[in-house]
């Protein structure tokens, strides 16, 4: 069975600093996408960034980037220049059954310190 592990239930970072959220996963799929989602308090879950597994280049979206280590099945999220609006729950997600379903990690609650 596919599993996704986020070992940091909570993280905090000073505004404008950089923080890295960790995620490890296990999948039997040979080609797949990995995702980081953000869920602000009482608001909609939205996609932050995705990584295609066969691409060696790490994905980047503005201040958000990933460190994807396929052999180690590690998929961390780096947030640079942290802003107050980045405060949220962050979920890592891995597909199973040929991208038919997503399995989510338990989430990391990120607090931004002004």
């Amino acid at each position: 069975a596919q599993t996704v592990t986020q070992s940091q239930p909570e993280m905090s970072v000073q505004e404008a600093e950089t923080v890295t959220l960790s995620c490890t996963y296990d999948t039997s799929e040979s080609d797949y996408y990995l995702f980081w989602y953000k869920q602000p308090p009482s608001r909609q879950m939205i996609l932050v960034i995705r990584q295609e597994a066969y691409k060696q280049q790490n994905a980047t979206e503005n201040r958000f980037s990933v460190n994807f280590q396929k052999a180690a099945k590690s998929f961390s999220l780096k947030i640079s220049d942290s802003q107050l609006g980045d405060a949220a729950m962050y979920f890592c997600a891995c597909p199973n059954f040929g991208n038919e379903k997503l399995t989510f990690g338990t989430g990391t609650r990120l607090t931004i310190i002004p």
Binding site: Q44, M45, R50, E100, K101
Partner: protein, 113 residues
């Protein structure tokens, strides 16, 4: 911008009542999903659908049922609500040929007294 809508956003009801949580999407997506999010925020897949007249049980057993009569609509029903059903329910959809990315609604927070 994803267009997926859930109603009601908040619902407080008494034990034994029948409830239906509505979910609609305007993106023409074939795949739709219901996740239950517990107080610890963990997400559990309870139902999904590949298209019209297709429904499947998810990874977490649930007493709720779903139907998919129209592509855009994927309601979830509890015939007799109990306090153990108190949770947040998130609906999502995905394009069949896509990356597997999910687009989420805003959620329905159910409280059963």
């Amino acid at each position: 911008e994803a267009d997926i809508y859930q109603t009601p956003r908040y619902l407080v009801i008494g034990t034994g009542k029948k409830i239906t949580l509505e979910c609609s999407q305007t993106m023409g997506h074939d795949k739709m999903y219901w996740y239950q999010q517990d107080p610890g925020m963990e997400l559990h897949l309870i139902h999904y659908s590949y298209g019209v007249n297709s429904t499947e049980k998810g990874d977490l057993s649930s007493e709720s049922t779903v139907s998919r009569i129209r592509t855009e609509h994927f309601p979830l029903t509890l015939e007799s609500a109990r306090p153990s059903h108190t949770s947040q329910y998130l609906c999502a959809s995905s394009d069949w040929a896509s990356t597997g990315e999910l687009f989420f609604g805003e959620g329905s927070r159910l409280t059963v007294l």
